[in-house]
């Protein structure tokens, strides 16, 4: 039987196991939306803006590990996806973006709403397509899913001109192909890695987002227990080990913990798992671990020696590799090493000023934590509030922190929270955002309210673009160019306008009662938490600095 292109698209999505898509209709996807109207097998979440839809698909994918799907019309719809696609790319999220375009005969003529979205997204995607022949459509979609979820995950875009959505051809369902197998390191390479681990007296495990993505968190924790090594993480790797685990020393890097970065720099072996050694994590690359052997394990071979030279490397899936290392490694306690780390921790603790019972970021986040469960998804935007969340919230389970690490996209949060809540079947999701970031995409409150998603939003409101302002105070002599906010937005009224509940917390008593009220409600709640605009994120290692430059 002959099927139209849009039927084939929907059928192939169903075949690929898709039951939820995010998107926004328009002229060049009318035919696709007509097909969505007819099916009850795919739920479509219409957001307020395509960027929000893309972040929602991303949040859906990050919280579940499934491929997120977003649909947008040509031209402005497609370009509105771009930030979302780049956000997904830099954090290796599996995503399939589908765009309509003008008909093939109208391509290249600057037709109404024509944009070469394949050209635009070429450097931002793992791969992308424009499908000009209906016969290629089904297999292209299948291949897109395969690429998105194989190896190091990432976004794939498919551009479908309008005439292809109408054209007809035969269609047969196919079975889902399992992801392209990851490379398997040789026995000799594994043996050498094991020897390095067994030789080390002061090993340090540095865990990145790849550990979470590969589902190898238990294996990572086990390795750390067997060889008695401390674990520090990048921001993306934060949920790879429970915060309260005795071997966890903290996040490393620019706003990481002193004990974590210092243990790393005083180790005699860094076992780096699923990380790209981003500049935010390493600081000055020349000074980073200059004389420490590095065992680098990653699924993407191009990460080996890209930012930091590895002494030895294993390319493959951590889920496969870590058990091999655990098998070979000597189980040995390392009390001397741990005593030393304990001293770093104590030194660090001595620098912590006791928090008076007032509106500080730490108090706010700790109060929120009283109401969340181990598996509650915490989403952040970008800025100081993001760093405070990573510093003060005790993450327990993998995939419970959704944050834009690689691209640092302000406005990511609310869309991602919508996606995560939809994915969980309507569970409570917490968004910790800033006044600046929330301004960017608060329009997705409309989506959250429409779908009755119990998202709890806490604006850490310093009435400033705090993170930028902090840099200005440290590196630009307090010249606060354009970072002090003079906006008059009433977030409570705004929340109400969208149909959400709004609370304003200006002191700790209000904070306690409103947080309680927010969590006992089933509705979308916005709690506007006012803090001083002078709060800083500390410690801080200045950009391109090293542990000796740390500001505590």
């Amino acid at each position: 039987m002959k099927h139209t292109g849009s039927e084939i698209l929907i059928e192939t999505l169903i075949e690929q196991g898709v039951d939820t898509v995010f998107g926004y209709p328009g002229g060049n996807v009318l035919k696709i939306y007509d097909e969505l109207y007819k099916t009850n097998k795919i739920k479509h979440i219409t957001t307020s803006h395509e960027q929000g839809a893309c972040h929602a698909a991303d949040g859906y994918a990050r919280s579940t590990g499934k491929v997120g799907v977003v649909i947008a019309t040509s031209g402005p719809g497609a370009t509105n996806l771009v930030t979302g696609i780049a956000t997904a790319a830099l954090d290796s999220t599996p995503l399939v973006a589908i765009c309509g375009n003008v008909s093939t005969s109208a391509l290249g003529k600057d037709s109404f709403q024509e944009v070469d979205i394949m050209g635009v997204t070429l450097p931002l995607t793992k791969h992308n397509y424009i499908v000009k022949h209906i016969q290629e459509l089904a297999d292209t979609i299948r291949e897109a899913f395969l690429i998105a979820k194989s190896g190091r995950c990432g976004p794939v875009l498919i551009d479908i001109p309008q005439d292809v959505q109408f054209d007809v051809c035969d269609f047969k369902k196919k079975d889902i192909v399992s992801p392209i197998p990851a490379p398997i390191p040789s026995d000799e390479d594994i043996t050498r890695a094991v020897e390095m681990i067994n030789f080390s007296k002061r090993p340090f495990i540095y865990s990145g987002g790849g550990v979470v993505l590969s589902g190898a968190c238990n294996e990572l924790v086990k390795l750390s227990e067997e060889i008695d090594a401390p674990v520090g993480t990048s921001m993306m790797g934060l949920t790879s080990i429970p915060r309260k685990h005795e071997n966890f020393v903290g996040m490393t890097g620019m706003h990481g913990r002193y004990a974590a970065t210092n243990s790393m720099m005083n180790s005699d072996l860094i076992i780096a798992c699923g990380t790209r050694f981003s500049d935010r994590a390493t600081g000055n690359k020349a000074k980073f671990a200059a004389n420490i052997p590095i065992l680098h394990i990653d699924i993407d071979q191009s990460e080996i020696n890209k930012n930091i030279k590895a002494t030895h490397s294993l390319v493959g899936d951590l889920k496969y590799i870590l058990p091999k290392l655990i098998d070979g490694a000597n189980k040995q306690k390392k009390p001397l090493w741990h005593n030393e780390i304990q001293q770093y921790k104590e030194f660090e603790a001595s620098k912590v000023v006791p928090q008076p019972d007032v509106m500080t970021p730490k108090n706010i986040i700790e109060e929120i934590q009283k109401y969340t469960k181990d598996d509650t998804v915490i989403v952040t935007d970008v800025g100081q509030h993001q760093m405070w969340t990573t510093q003060f919230y005790d993450f327990i389970k993998p995939r419970t922190l959704l944050t834009s690490g690689g691209l640092g996209t302000m406005g990511f949060g609310l869309g991602a929270a919508v996606g995560a809540s939809i994915a969980s079947g309507g569970k409570t999701v917490v968004l910790i955002t800033g006044d600046g970031s929330f301004h960017m995409n608060m329009i997705e409150l409309a989506t959250a309210v429409e779908h009755k998603l119990p998202i709890k939003i806490f604006i850490i409101n310093n009435n400033a673009l705090g993170m930028v302002k902090q840099w200005q105070s440290i590196f630009y002599d307090n010249r606060f160019s354009c970072t002090l906010q003079h906006k008059k937005t009433d977030f409570i009224l705004a929340a109400k306008a969208f149909g959400a509940k709004g609370f304003k917390a200006e002191n700790i008593e209000e904070l306690h009662s409103y947080i309680k009220e927010a969590f006992s409600s089933n509705e979308v709640c916005v709690v506007d938490c006012h803090i001083s605009s002078d709060e800083c994120v500390l410690p801080m290692i200045p950009p391109n600095g090293s542990i000796s430059d740390i500001i505590m």
Binding site: M118, G119, P123, K126, H127, I147, Q301
Partner: protein, 169 residues
């Protein structure tokens, strides 16, 4: 070890729409310089073969190969070993001639084994295929006579003897 070297890469790519852009955009985006890039279909129309030359250090060479192999349409990459490689470039070069210079130029063309492809009373256009260094010499030699214009294809390269890089399955 980390001195810059002249590197020739042979890259087999799927003959898909946009593949040249994918490869060239990777070089631009990651800041690798391309000295030359040539591309043409192979005997199997599903594949094209690119020859890319660049001057980079060892670390960058390693990264280029790894990054290229992440492009989905790139099927195989080979770093050519110079001693075992035939590398050629084609140049068309147009020179002004006068009665005084005609003989000298003709001698040079013979010496360099160029071929005259067009001749008018005051111009001669030469086709010459050779290693890059030889072409450079030829250009330098002809410069005093007045080069009107020239164009070069960039290097294309193939392994010697049985050295087969790709099997086209």
């Amino acid at each position: 070890m980390n001195e810059k070297q002249h590197v020739i890469l042979s890259v087999l790519v799927a003959n898909h729409f946009g593949v040249l852009m994918r490869v060239s955009s990777l070089f631009t985006r990651r800041g690798y310089n391309i000295d030359s890039l040539t591309v043409g279909e192979t005997n199997n129309p599903e594949f094209s073969r690119m020859t890319i030359t660049t001057t980079v250090d060892e670390d960058t060479k390693e990264q280029i190969v790894k990054q290229l192999s992440k492009i989905y349409d790139v099927k195989k990459i080979k770093v050519m070993v110079r001693e075992n490689t035939i590398e050629k470039e084609l140049m068309l070069i147009k020179i002004s001639i006068t009665n005084d210079t005609r003989t000298e130029i003709m001698n040079a063309i013979n010496l360099y084994m160029g071929k005259i492809v067009d001749l008018t009373p005051d111009t001669v256009t030469i086709e010459i295929t050779a290693e890059q260094a030889k072409l450079n010499d030829f250009v330098k030699y002809l410069e005093p006579y007045g080069i009107i214009e020239l164009c070069r294809t960039g290097i294309t390269a193939i392994g010697r003897g049985n050295d087969k890089i790709f099997s086209l399955e």
